[in-house]
């Protein structure tokens, strides 16, 4: 990466060169609608689980799309599956199926590979 003589906070940086999109493509195949997200946040505003914890569907969807898989597993586990997000979504994203596709993906060799990469 080119240096411009100033620093960027690591947290604010999305490094598309390093990010791994395999998981996204794997999920997208099963639930193509996740690409439709416009990030309005309606899902998160009405979320039942978000009332008690930091669960944020919009964020998780974006992390997945960007190939930042680190926090996905912990996040998805908090979902209560009530389906309000899907009802309010103006783009018709099938949020619950994305969550289930992810849950199944966590049991695949691909996920183990990604985990190893994160831990390194």
């Amino acid at each position: 990466m080119a240096t411009f003589g100033f620093s960027i906070l690591k947290d604010r940086q999305i490094d598309y060169d390093n990010n791994d999109h395999r998981l996204f493509r794997f999920i997208e195949e099963q639930e193509p609608s996740i690409r439709l997200c416009i990030g309005c946040g309606g899902c998160t505003a009405g979320c039942t689980a978000a009332g008690f914890t930091g669960f944020n569907y919009r964020k998780l969807n974006y992390l997945l799309m960007r190939g930042e898989t680190e926090h996905l597993q912990k996040g998805i586990q908090q979902c209560m599956l009530c389906g309000k997000c899907k009802l309010v979504c103006p783009r018709g994203v099938n949020t619950r199926n994305m969550i289930f596709a992810l849950k199944r993906a966590f049991k695949t060799p691909l996920w183990e590979e990604l985990q190893k990469k994160i831990n390194v």
Binding site: S33, G51, F52, L87, R96, N97
Partner: protein, 613 residues
């Protein structure tokens, strides 16, 4: 027993012994896999009246096919003639040979090929009637067979838009089944022709054939063909859909003895899978068809389950509306089978350690709106208004933040996680000391009734409001409105609550009839049970349902489920209201009086005229 032997009987005999051995082993394995507590139920039920009522049901359903008659008389006749006709043929055939030979232990094939071994129609004391009956039974079966062949090509005559797609073994079994009876007819006719015997069917045909065919030479091959058809049918039966014939009888007994599907793939669940005859009656009643989905209909799902080919897309693609179970002639627990497979396909990984410790509030009655009611605040507002009017002491338990009831997890196959949420809510409910729990969400109602074991009364708000109206604690404002009521799946088919919401509406407004009512009501498409359908497909289902509801031009569509309400609101041409909103009179906010509408129309007309000029 070499007395009644000829090589041609071998295919039949081998097939028969094979099927007996196979069924013996298969059923034994199934009973072992049923599990201990369920086996105890069998031990309890086997020597009780339940067994007798099971025998009655076997007669009515496995032989007469009463439920299929209700779907369509032609279809019922087709199934009955094949099953009951064949049964009569076997039963009377055996009785006849017993009366004639007076040997109780004569071999089975002696009765089946009686005409071959006794071609001259021997006389015994009621032999005339006996042969007349045997010919009639065969004619009865052949009439049903003709219908079956016609049905393969013209399903609509039988009230079915679609019939099932067949697999290899199904084709083999079907072909041999179709050939059995024509071959029997030919064999008996040729023999009758050769020996100048037989009755109105075999005898007449026999003499006709004898006129232009060498019947003596054709007779023997025809018996071979008949035996081969039988043998083929028996051998292919266990691997085809015809396995339903023996399994359904076992299933009826097990069900009568009180077994239930449970949450695991047990022997009982297996028996249900094998009992599916793939008649295809469910296909037309499954709204997945409306959504353009042709792989996940109940019949194909069960087929995939039997062949161990279930994938997530198949298991997750079900509205859990239960219309298939209403119409299924075998009464298979299709919804539960689907949920069981969901459990296996997606490992339960939810983690709810973050649940807060909440303090219950003392109250007589608890109102639980549920997640979906949070999206339709009009229902809570209406309930508050009605509760204030009635003077009841009600705690709106989940008015602010709330934990989900647990039903969505159960619907997705996450039973363990569901129990954690259920435990959390149960402590709050029992802690409040309430004697009554009211919920406006049928999805929550199902789980409260089935899983919570609260020990207090649980009511849907339609029942509660009707009770308040009857005791005159609330007085719904009369409204001159035509209302079409939509039965939510979870409330109607799920909890058998059909009348209360209707009575509540009738107490203040006019209820109009709709095309699909009560048990056969359609799903709104918003189903929590389906995780697979995309938004466009859901809209197709929604449109179908709205069309059925608005056929009678109602002023309002009423429903009693917040999920249905929210889903309908997307594209309904008329206001969609919950029954609480109707009882509370809040409908006035949505409906403009006719005069105002007229005024509006006049203004539009005026504006248009001005533009034209």
């Amino acid at each position: 027993m070499m007395k009644f032997y000829d090589p041609f009987i071998l295919p039949f005999v081998i097939g028969l012994y094979f099927i007996f051995a196979y069924l013996g082993i298969k059923f034994a394995v199934m009973l072992i896999r049923i599990g201990k507590p369920e086996r105890k139920k069998i031990a309890k039920g086997i020597f009780s009246v339940k067994t007798l009522s099971a025998v009655k049901e076997v007669f009515l359903e496995a032989l007469l096919h009463k439920r299929i008659f209700k779907v369509n008389p032609m279809l019922g006749y087709m199934h009955m003639s094949l099953a009951f006709g064949w049964f009569l043929l076997i039963l009377f055939g055996k009785i006849g040979t017993l009366s004639y030979s007076r040997d109780f232990f004569n071999p089975i094939h002696y009765a089946i090929f009686f005409k071959y071994f006794e071609p001259r129609d021997p006389a015994f004391f009621y032999s005339k009637t006996y042969f007349l009956l045997m010919d009639s039974f065969l004619l009865f079966i052949l009439s049903g067979l003709t219908l079956a062949i016609v049905k393969r090509f013209r399903t609509r005559i039988f009230g079915m838009k679609k019939t099932t797609r067949l697999r290899f073994f199904d084709r083999m079994a079907l072909t041999s089944l179709w050939l059995i009876f024509p071959f029997r007819l030919l064999a008996e006719s040729f023999t009758s022709g050769a020996f100048q015997s037989g009755h109105f069917l075999s005898g007449t045909l026999g003499s006709v054939f004898a006129g232009f065919l060498p019947v003596e030479n054709l007779m023997y091959p025809a018996w071979w063909a008949y035996s081969l058809a039988l043998g083929f049918f028996f051998v292919s039966l266990p691997f085809s859909r015809y396995m339903h014939i023996p399994t359904e009888m076992l299933l009826i007994f097990l069900r009568k003895w009180g077994l239930d599907t449970g949450t695991k793939m047990s022997g009982y669940a297996e028996a249900q899978v094998l009992s599916c005859s793939r008649c295809g009656i469910c296909i037309d009643n499954c709204q997945l068809k409306t959504a353009g989905e042709t792989q996940a209909n109940p019949v194909y799902f069960i087929q995939a389950l039997r062949n161990q080919q279930v994938n997530p897309a198949l298991a997750m693609n079900c509205l859990q509306c239960g219309r298939c179970e209403e119409i299924c002639p075998v009464k298979i627990d299709i919804r539960q089978l689907r949920l069981i497979t969901r459990q296996h396909l997606t490992p339960d990984q939810s983690d709810y350690h973050y649940l807060p410790v909440e303090q219950p509030v003392k109250a007589d009655v608890i109102f639980f709106g549920g997640c979906m009611t949070h999206l339709t605040p009009g229902i809570v507002a209406a309930m508050k208004k009605l509760v204030a009017e009635s003077g009841e002491k009600v705690w709106f338990m989940d008015e602010q933040e709330s934990v989900c009831c647990g039903r969505p997890q159960l619907l997705a196959g996450e039973a363990e996680s569901a129990m954690r949420l259920i435990e959390h809510n149960r402590q709050l409910i029992t802690g409040s000391g309430a004697k009554l729990l009211v919920t406006s969400c049928p999805i929550c109602l199902t789980v409260f009734v089935r899983e919570y074991n609260l020990g207090i009364e649980v009511l849907h708000h339609s029942q509660y409001l009707l009770r308040l109206t009857r005791s005159q604690k609330i007085r719904p404002k009369p409204a001159l409105l035509k209302i079409a009521y939509h039965d939510p799946c979870e409330l109607g088919r799920g909890n058998a609550i059909y009348e209360e919401p209707r009575q509540l509406i009738n107490s203040s407004a006019i209820l109009v009839k709709t095309k699909h009512e009560k048990q056969m009501s359609l799903c709104c498409g918003g189903s929590l049970g389906n995780l697979q359908l995309n938004a466009d497909q859901q809209n197709l289902i929604l449109d179908e349902t709205l069309q059925s509801l608005t056929a009678a031009n109602p002023d309002i569509i009423a429903t009693s489920c917040p999920l249905c309400k929210k889903t309908f609101q997307k594209s309904s041409p008329v206001p969609v209201l919950d029954i609480a909103e109707i009882a509370a009179g809040t409908w006035q906010h949505y409906i403009q009086p006719a005069s105002q509408n007229q005024e509006k129309a006049n203004i539009h007309e005026l504006a248009e005229n001005q533009l034209m000029n």
